[in-house]
């Protein structure tokens, strides 16, 4: 019992540690991939191949002076980045990242790899990610600057619009799996058709997967949907007035949100830790590979697709993405009803 408790605590700590590292690694990966796509090296001076660049960035930011505009709201200005990063970390709490394991026979009963297992896990992730918008909106409002305010307003409108499509796409997966527990959804994807094609929901839900990915990019404020910080029109949007560590927390929250989005996509659509060649105890390797692939896609999209116009974003979200998600949901419900009857 005691050992089990310690192991569970260790898993939670490891999840946290990995998330922090994911954000640092993503900063590096983003700059490196961007560099290659623009035919240059990217960071290469600090450490081997520039690997220590994120560390240098963080050290530099720690040394900077913390500024607060004179007209800023003191409390909310401080609270906003904290809210942002807290929501980002908390959202990963119910995302499982590996099968049950006994740690090579160390434990009598297997433990589940993942911080917590809740029977409404999908909804918990969704609920906490939707709280992340407060950080951005408050940062925009409390800075008392027009660029920040516009960024915050855009963020609120964008998140409300794309959350709907996002949730509707997930609802179709819940229908297929017949469960809201992410672990059960992943276990429903074990096996393969004709021992060639794995039974991942991405093959049953191709439209749903595309909708999820598009809405996911919009939810995390990434290009081509990065309106809250569109630098050509808003300087840096909601985080214009921030500096030092407070500023650093915003990109960190963004990168962790990206990781969560990719991890949930892996769990819901790409079979989580199930994959060929590896025994299921080592499934977390597959999980990491799949999350990495999706994150690479994210970065790839950012540096190849130009930004939309703001009215185009709204029109696309409400007139195309959301109806498509609803049609997808109705078709899935009909199919589930037909094949289960």
């Amino acid at each position: 019992m005691d050992l089990r408790f310690l192991v569970q605590l260790g898993i939670i700590g490891l999840t946290f540690f990995m998330l922090i590292n994911a954000s640092a690694l993503l900063v590096y990966a983003e700059r490196k991939v961007m560099g290659f796509m623009q035919q240059r090296y990217g960071p290469y001076l600090v450490g081997p191949h520039g690997l220590l660049q994120p560390l240098a960035d963080i050290l530099k930011l720690l040394m900077k002076e913390e500024l607060r505009p004179k007209g800023a709201d003191r409390w909310l200005f401080t609270l906003a980045p904290i809210l942002s990063v807290t929501a980002a970390f908390a959202a990963f709490a119910t995302v499982p990242w590996g099968a049950e394991t006994t740690l090579f026979g160390l434990l009598d009963e297997p433990v589940k790899l993942g911080a917590a297992d809740v029977n409404v896990g999908v909804l918990v992730v969704f609920a906490i990610t939707s709280m992340g918008v407060y950080g951005i909106v408050l940062a925009g409002w409390s800075s008392n600057s027009k660029y920040s305010l516009l960024g915050g307003l855009r963020s609120a409108a964008q998140m409300i619009s794309y959350e709907l499509s996002y949730a509707t796409a997930i609802a179709a997966v819940i229908l297929l799996a017949g469960s809201m527990s992410i672990r059960e959804i992943v276990d429903g994807q074990a096996g393969s058709w004709f021992s060639i094609v794995p039974t991942w929901y991405v093959f049953l839900q191709p439209l749903g997967f595309i909708i999820y990915m598009i809405a996911g990019v919009a939810e995390t404020n990434r290009a081509p949907f990065d309106f809250p910080e569109a630098e050509q029109e808003l300087v840096a949007g909601y985080n214009t007035e921030y500096s030092s560590v407070r500023f650093a927390l915003f990109p960190q929250a963004e990168y962790i949100n990206m990781t969560t989005m990719a991890a949930v996509a892996t769990d819901l659509y790409l079979g989580g830790w199930h994959g060929p060649f590896l025994p299921v105890e080592y499934g977390w390797i597959w999980f990491l590979v799949k999350v990495g692939a999706i994150l690479f896609l994210y970065i790839w999209v950012r540096w190849t697709v130009p930004r939309y116009r703001y009215d185009q974003l709204m029109k696309f979200g409400w007139k195309w993405l959301f109806p498509a998600a609803v049609v997808n949901l109705i078709l899935t419900a009909a199919a589930v009803l037909y094949f289960n009857a």
């Binding site: 709201d73 909310l76 029977n119 609920a127 709280m131 918008v133 925009g140 609120a156 409108a157 949730a167």
Partner: protein
Amino acid sequence: MPETLVFYLLSGLAIVASALVIGQRNPMYSVLLLVASFGALAGLYIQLDAPFVAVAQIIIYAGAVMVLFLFVVMLLNAPQEDAAEWDRTHPLRIPAFARFGALLALLLVVQLVWALLTAAGTGAPVAARAGSETVSSVRALGRTLFTDYVFAFEATSILILVAMVGAVVLARREGDQA
């Protein structure tokens, strides 16, 4: 008794935050305190073994409705409420109205106390009460909602739809073709 401690913590947070909502001059703070109050309520639902209700509370109220509120407050960029101006003109300053309001508040408190005293089984643990497994399971909750309470459910849906159509009609300007 960690559960009791958590219960009092969450209840206290909900009550204090709700009370502070009214006391704020700045509408931005009111919105945020209301969010905090909703969050504490969600925690109480979890303690009542109803995780789905808790998550729905956060998604719908804290995540969607309050973001919309925040959006409106920011868009209007409402200044601090000016106390001096409405001190004399505000209808609540008329003594008769104020007394009537106090009477209504008193009535509400009496009703709440009466309801608490007469309702059966409020002291019993949640798991021992009838229907507790319905609340904790999403499947059972959905089944109950779409069989026993289907009329209420559909009636509410139509009501919301009518309100939505009404809002769109009201928001549209005359001669607007879009």
